[in-house]
Symmetry: C2
Subunit: 133 residues, 2 copies
């Protein structure tokens, strides 16, 4: 037997649920029914993104550690789009919605084209076009 | 236009690629072709999990910040299984494979049953059964 190779839930510990919900709402994202300021979920196509207060998440997931500091947490979340022009467009839409620009769209060494934005708590989303996608 | 509500890539910044690859191999996970110690990927059913050296990831995704400290990073990755007994079994398999136990399987307030493990760099995986899944 092995550990199933899958991802069902991606849960982001949130410092301010209302601010994060407003940000993802501004991106145009739809919450799943039952979402509230204690637990907010989004269908991301095959898995669920969840926002959950970081103190409560830490009580479950890291009971013997202090909470991480604000800022980048060492992880990125990639949204692939169909064309390089789609990266430019999506980056612009995200900024208009209030995303913090981290890196403007550029060609990457791996052959793609991508940009980075941050949500109000520093979670990093890469908007990418990949030649093989 | 909105930002597509999807997740294509989940990239974990790695401090030691070889150690992390060995850990996920021990879980029984299959790497995608072309994986190496510079960039390792896994199909997780609809999205790709990637391991990438954290310094290089930070250069792209957080060029104006220092790297995060080791330890829990405020995020959890959930693997849903079909039954409560499956949580117990999978938790045991993960520990045998070298996972660090964070929380033994317990009933959760939200109605499910779950456990937490950590990989060698502190990334938190929840093994969960959810009554609605």
């Amino acid at each position: 037997m092995t550990v199933p190779q899958r991802l069902s839930f991606l849960t982001l510990g949130a410092r301010d649920m209302a601010v994060l919900r407003a940000f993802y709402r501004a991106l145009g994202w739809s919450e799943r029914p039952g979402s509230d300021d204690d637990f907010t979920t989004y269908d991301l196509g095959g898995l669920v993104l969840a926002l959950y207060p970081i103190g409560r998440l830490g009580a479950e997931a890291a009971p013997d550690e202090s909470l991480p500091p604000p800022g980048w947490n060492g992880v990125t979340y990639g949204i692939n789009v169909e064309t390089p022009a789609g990266v430019d467009e999506t980056f612009g839409v995200a900024l208009t919605a209030g995303a913090r620009p981290i890196a403007r769209p550029v060609r990457r060494d791996w052959g793609g084209y991508s940009a980075y934005i941050a949500d109000p708590e520093g979670n990093r989303w890469e908007i990418a076009w990949a030649p093989e996608a």
